[in-house]
Each structure stands twice: as structure tokens, then as C-alpha cells.
């Protein structure tokens, strides 16, 4: 499949796309405002994947390599529309109110992702990059053009807010460190 993509064969490219696109769309969905934006990011990301496929040296997993490209594509899209600043997210976060009666139930993974998407865009991006993608705060600062300290503070606030949301949805049992999600086996 990889060789076919290097040879620009449409069938190989489509096979690669069909294999990785569902998961990558899930990645994009965590960064996007809505499904359409997520699909736009996915499309742009895969175009970059195919144009840079010759740079993949095979040293790591192809999925991880593709995922990095997708994440960077998502970040670039977000940065086009937003400047990440501490003050904006603070204002937004302080006005949030969680109405317990309005929180519906959802499947576990989708629940968690939807809860993440409820966060303000700045918090959400930092949380995604740090907690899920595994970037360091220093790397996040370089990606988002913010200070490392800003990244840390935003992540702290994001995590607190997410915990609060998850508790309200009875997905989290404890609101403090070392919390464990309520088991939701699939």
C-alpha cells in the first residue's frame, strides 16, 4: 500500500485513506468546531500526507506519522481563526455554567470527546496536544506561539473544567488528581 502511494496509484491511496481516515477524523473532530470543519481538516491533512509520503522513512509507525501531520493541519486551521491568549479563555471559562439537568447520556468514547469539545477552543487545543497527543508544554508553546507558562496554566484550567464536566456527567468518580474514569467497556 505504501509503495502504491509512492507510485501515485489511486487504488493504493484510497486504501490508505479508508484504513486511517476514521480514526484521523476522530482526531480532527476534537479540534474542530463542527463535523464539516473536521472533514475539511481531514481532507487537507491527507493531501499533505500524500504529498509528503516520500519523506516517511519507515522508522516509526505510519499511523503515528500520519497523525502528526493531521494534528499539525488541525492546529494550523485553528491558528488561522484564533490567536491563543490567556485572557480570552479566562473570560470564556468564567461564564460557563454547567446545568446538570441538561446533560444527556452518550456512549463513553463519544461522551468524552464531546465533553472535550465543550471546552473553549484554547483550552481544548492545549488539552488535546498535551494529554492526548503527548506534546510537552515547551513544544506546545512553539506550536501555538505562546509561552510555555501560558500552556501550563491553560492546561491546568482546561483539566479542571473538563473534570467538572465529566463529574456532572457521572463519568468521573473523583474530582481530584489520580482520578479514574468510570469504566465504560466497549
Amino acid at each position: 500500500m505504501l509503495q502504491g502511494c509512492l507510485d501515485n496509484l489511486a487504488t493504493a491511496q484510497e486504501a490508505l485513506y479508508n484504513y486511517f481516515s476514521p480514526k484521523m477524523l476522530g482526531v480532527c473532530y476534537r479540534y474542530a468546531r463542527n463535523r464539516e470543519d473536521a472533514e475539511d481538516m481531514l481532507q487537507e491533512g491527507f493531501i499533505k500526507v500524500y504529498s509528503q509520503i516520500h519523506q516517511f522513512r519507515g522508522s516509526g509507525a505510519l499511523e503515528g506519522w500520519i497523525r502528526r501531520i493531521i494534528v499539525h493541519t488541525c492546529i494550523n486551521n485553528i491558528k488561522k481563526n484564533k490567536k491563543f491568549s490567556d485572557s480570552v479563555d479566562l473570560i470564556h471559562a468564567s461564564s460557563l455554567q454547567i446545568n446538570e439537568n441538561n446533560i444527556p447520556s452518550m456512549l463513553q468514547a463519544k461522551q468524552v470527546v464531546e465533553c472535550i469539545r465543550l471546552l473553549p477552543i484554547g483550552y481544548r487545543t492545549v488539552l488535546n496536544l498535551y494529554a492526548i497527543e503527548g506534546f510537552s508544554h515547551k513544544e506546545i508553546g512553539g506550536i501555538l506561539d505562546i509561552e510555555e507558562s501560558t500552556s501550563r496554566s491553560q492546561y491546568t484550567r482546561a483539566r479542571s473544567l473538563l473534570e467538572e464536566i465529566l463529574i456532572k456527567k457521572k463519568i468521573l468518580q473523583k474530582p481530584r488528581e489520580n482520578v479514574r474514569m468510570v469504566s465504560g467497556s466497549h
Binding site: N8, A10, Q13, E14, Y17, S21, P22, K23, L25, G26, Y29, R30, N34, R35, E36, A38, E39, L42, Q43, F46, I47, Y50, S95, L96, Q97, I98, N99, N102, I103, P104, S105, M106, Q108, A109, K110, Q111, V112, V113, E114, I116, L118, N128, Y130, A131, I132, G134, R159, L162, E163, E177, N178, V179, R180, M181, G184, H186
Partner: protein, 545 residues
């Protein structure tokens, strides 16, 4: 990484979504651009074809086949044998013109000399249009009957004369744009001098311009006893007939003293417009034998006139936009019972809204395929919407209960919103609107008409493409409004119906009448169970030529 973060990552990694087909189509087209060129090429060809058809049908300068020699509209007149006949309609001609025809020198058809033309030509002769087929009679004024010819010349009437000072002094009249050849008349001059004939075309109340015609070629024709000497012929051409008015062509001569033959005769005929057009189109206009040298052949010339069956209209339609709702909202999913219960929204779930001002503007082509019926097609922009009455609240969670269009399963979508469904101190108006580009096609039927006014009804369907839209939707519990443009349908279908009165003012045709536009498909995708249909009531105002 803490346990929380690890759990978060695990759950996030388990989450997958199936992308829509458009994503792969976009990727494929980007990677393999050659495959999309045929569709782009076809689209460009189609677009230019539309533009070309519209231009050609509205242009008064149409490419045509060159007139063959001796076409039915080319009439060679010998300077000897063609006499002129004036119809009774010429009784109102100016005396000076009449006197010209009465001149004995002119009436001497046997004379081959042009010796007394100078004193004869006073003003330009004026002729009128008559029926070639039907009429072969004319009131003869002081013309010997034995010299009368039955030859016919199709010329046009103009009751305005060329400036006599310019004509008599031989100065060329103003030169205007060239006019295409639609009919021609040849006049002869036995003197052998090259003549220049000037024609003036007047349309309706004004002058289209004066064209200096090219010199004709020297022609001679051998008919027994009919002519001698050389003929100088000049061709008069004019552009097509416009509107419903009788076209007019005034013939004058730059230097009539030297070129006008003494026995030059022109036989005027009078046409009705319809007869004229049918005469031009018809084959085999009867040639006259005898003394006349009318030379008519079947014409294969392309009749160059604007296609009267196609017209273009440009319109604007200010509207009042309203909305209708149907369909029922789904109750929130019960965790114990996964089957959603469909309930009628209660009082809190009823939307408060009012109408907005909208507009519709565009262009429409009409093709008359029968006397009463017309096929219409066009393109327009439509803006419509309504205002939702809301009030500002603290940011709060709200959700919509949607239905997956592929699986049919109900699911919830959460939002954080600042807008409540109610009225109060912090009242705010939320704009739900849609700006759409449409391609309507339909039919128009003429109910009644006379020469001035026409009453018709029209109906069309219009595929529409949403350029920009906004949607505030009431939440499942009816307490809030959430904004989710992703639920809006990008492609829609609209129906139009209207009755119009059309009338002509100067050179412009006006079309005015009420129009209703109804959005057939819901504004929202099938995921959202409530159906919204935008309705526009307006007055359509259009102009056409």
C-alpha cells in the same frame, strides 16, 4: 502521565468517525486533477454557449450569408422601361416630391438621356412600403399607362427628407455605422457615372443614422427592348426591423444632378410589416413580365433579424420573508428506553419570530414556443429569512436531539448558549437567514393581451445553492436557542408562482406583478426532525427590450 490523562487518551483514541464521500472526492481531485478537466471543460463550454446564445439573439448585427446576386430583393431597373407608380397613399406627399414625379422629363420613359435632370430633382423622392405579393396596383399619377411597369420595388416610407442643402450641394451626409444587408434596391443610371446613394434609416421616432453606401458594380442586362447603356447600381441596405414599427428608409442621392437618370423610375410599394416580413421570407415572388425588367429570383438569403421568440428580462423582487414549520421534535433519549418518543413541543418549545424584508434579483430568458406559452430559464439571487425573538441568558448547556440520517438512531448534540426562548429585559433579535443562488426553469402562459398590455401567469422550480446562511434552532427542551449552521442544507429547491402585467414604455418593456416563492425542502438536513420552509411574498419588477 497521570491516570486521568491516560484514561482521557484511551477514550479519545477509541473514538472514530466515518467521513463523508466528499472528503475522498476532494482528496482524489487534488491528487489527480486531470480527471476533473472534462467536467470543467463541459461546464465552461456550456456557460459560453449560454452567453453566446444570449448575445446572438439580442444582437442586431448578426452574421449572415452574403446575398446572392439577383436575389428576390434585388431589383434591377432599367432606365428605359420601368416606370414608376405611386400608390394612393402618396397623396399626402409633399408637393415638391410629387412635382418631381410629374416632371415630363421623367415621364418620358423612352428617353435615354439624362439631360434635364438638374432641373428636375428637387427633393428626395419618398416612397412607402407595400405588399409585394398582394398588391400590384397603384394609383398612377400623371404617368402614361403604357409605360407603367408592374415591377415592384420594396422600399420603405419615410416622411422625413434628407437635408436638401446637403443633398443638392453634393455633400455627403453624415456617415453612421454600417448596416447589414437585409434588402437591396438597385437603381440604374444610364449616364455611366458612378453614383453614391445615401440611405437613412429611421426607426420609430428617431433616426438610426445615415449610411453612405458603397458604389455598386456596373451591371448590364440584356432583355429585349428593355435597356441600353450601362447601369450603375447602388445597393441600399438597412438593418432589421425593430419592434412593431414600420421600418423606414429614405433614399437620397449625393449628387443627383449628375447621376439621376431622366427616366429613372422607382415603383414604390406599400407593405404592412407582417406582409413585408413574409414577402422577404417567401420564395418566388412573382416576377413581372412585359415592360418591366423586374428581376427576381428565389432568395436563399438568411433573413437577418433578431429572434423575436427569445427575450431577456432583468428583474428585482422585494419581498416579505416568512417561514412555516412542520415536523415534530424528538424527546431527549431516555437511557432506559432507547426508542425516542415523539412529542409535540409544548408552549415553551414554541418559537417566537417575525418576518424580515428580503429580496430576489436576477435575469430570465423567455422562449416562446407557441403563441401563448413561453419557456423560461434564468439565474437569480435570493435573500430571505426571519427574526427569532430571544433574550440573553447566562451561558448554559443546551442540546438538540437529532436523528442520524444514515442509521436512524437518535442522538444528542450539546451546546453552550447565551440565548433563551423568551421575552424579557434583555430581549434580542436573532437573524435566521439564507442567501441562495438559484437557477429557475419554468413556464409562462399568456392569459390575455392586446397591442399594449399583456397579462400572464408564470411558474417555475429553482434548484438553489446556499451561499451564506445562519440558523438559530430551538433546543430540545424549548428553553434556549442554539446556533448550528452545520445543520443547514446547502442545496435546496424552491417553487415560484406569479401573475404579471407587461406593458411597453418608450423602448423598454416593463413586467410587474406579485410573486410567491416557497422553499420546497426544509432548511435543515434530515438530522434535524423539524422542517422549516421559507416563504417569500413580493412584487416582481422587470425590464426587457
Amino acid at each position: 502521565m497521570t491516570d486521568f490523562e491516560q484514561s482521557l487518551k484511551d477514550h479519545a483514541d477509541q473514538f472514530v468517525m466515518t467521513p463523508s464521500k466528499r472528503v475522498w472526492n476532494g482528496i482524489y481531485n487534488n491528487l489527480h486533477p486531470g480527471s476533473r478537466w472534462p467536467s470543467i471543460t463541459v461546464g465552461v463550454v456550456f456557460l459560453f454557449s449560454l452567453i453566446g446564445v444570449g448575445y446572438l439573439n439580442n444582437s442586431t448585427k448578426l452574421p449572415g450569408h452574403p446575398e446572392p446576386e439577383n436575389s428576390s430583393r434585388d431589383i434591377n431597373i432599367s432606365n428605359k422601361n420601368i416606370d414608376y407608380n405611386l400608390t394612393s397613399d402618396f397623396k399626402s406627399f409633399p408637393q415638391s416630391a410629387l412635382s418631381f414625379w410629374k416632371n415630363p422629363a421623367v415621364s418620358d420613359a423612352n428617353s435615354s438621356e439624362t439631360n434635364s435632370v438638374e432641373s428636375q430633382f428637387v427633393e428626395n423622392p419618398v416612397f412607402s412600403l407595400t405588399d409585394v405579393k398582394a398588391k400590384n396596383e397603384s394609383a398612377n399619377l400623371n404617368t402614361p399607362s403604357n409605360e407603367r411597369s408592374n415591377a415592384k420595388i420594396v422600399v420603405l416610407q419615410n416622411d422625413r427628407r434628407l437635408p436638401s442643402d446637403k443633398m443638392s450641394q453634393g455633400k455627403p451626409a453624415e456617415t453612421n455605422k454600417e448596416i447589414s444587408s437585409g434588402k437591396s434596391i438597385r437603381v440604374g443610371d444610364a449616364s455611366g457615372n458612378v453614383s453614391k446613394m445615401i440611405a437613412k434609416v429611421s426607426i420609430e421616432n428617431g433616426l438610426a443614422g445615415i449610411s453612405k453606401l458603397t458604389d455598386g458594380s456596373v451591371k448590364s442586362e440584356n432583355r429585349s427592348g428593355t435597356m441600353s447603356g450601362n447601369l450603375i447600381s447602388s445597393k441600399i441596405s438597412y438593418s432589421g426591423i425593430l419592434n412593431d414599427k414600420e421600418p423606414r428608409l429614405e433614399i437620397g442621392f449625393e449628387n443627383p444632378m449628375s447621376i439621376f437618370p431622366a427616366n429613372f423610375t422607382i415603383i414604390p410599394v406599400q407593405f404592412s410589416l407582417a406582409d413585408y416580413e413574409s414577402a422577404i421570407e417567401a420564395d418566388g415572388v412573382s416576377s413581372q413580365t412585359g415592360d418591366g425588367t423586374l428581376n427576381q429570383n428565389k432568395s436563399k438569403t438568411v433573413h437577418k433579424k433578431r429572434n423575436a421568440k427569445i427575450s431577456w428580462m432583468y428583474f428585482i423582487n422585494p419581498t416579505i420573508s416568512d417561514v412555516s414549520f412542520n415536523g415534530k421534535a424528538l424527546q431527549p433519549i431516555n437511557r432506559q428506553n432507547l426508542s425516542p418518543i415523539v412529542v409535540q413541543p409544548g408552549p415553551l418549545g414554541r418559537m417566537l419570530y417575525n418576518a424580515r424584508i428580503g429580496y430576489n434579483a436576477g435575469t430570465q430568458m423567455s422562449y416562446a414556443f407557441s403563441h401563448k406559452w413561453q419557456f423560461t430559464a434564468g439565474a437569480d439571487l435570493n435573500y430571505s429569512g426571519y427574526n427569532v425573538i430571544s433574550n440573553q441568558v447566562h451561558p448554559t448547556f443546551a442540546y438538540l436531539t437529532l436523528k442520524d440520517s444514515r442509521t436512524g438512531e437518535a442522538y444528542s448534540k450539546s451546546y453552550i448558549t447565551h440565548y433563551g426562548n423568551g421575552q424579557g429585559q434583555n430581549q434580542i433579535s436573532l437573524a435566521n437567514y439564507s442567501l441562495q443562488a438559484s437557477l429557475p426553469i419554468g413556464l409562462q402562459y399568456s392569459l390575455w393581451e392586446n397591442s399594449d398590455v399583456k397579462l400572464s401567469i408564470a411558474s417555475s422550480i429553482a434548484p438553489s445553492f446556499a451561499i451564506k446562511s445562519n440558523a438559530f434552532i430551538i433546543s430540545a427542551d424549548g428553553r434556549n436557542y442554539v446556533n448550528d449552521p452545520s445543520l443547514l442544507r446547502p442545496v435546496n429547491l424552491a417553487g415560484n408562482f406569479g401573475t404579471y402585467v407587461s406593458f411597453r414604455s418608450n423602448k423598454i418593456k416593463w413586467i410587474v406583478g406579485p410573486n410567491i416563492r416557497y422553499q420546497v425542502l426544509s432548511s435543515y438536513k434530515n438530522d434535524y426532525p423539524v422542517k422549516e420552509h421559507l416563504i417569500d411574498y413580493g412584487i416582481k419588477i422587470g425590464i426587457s427590450r
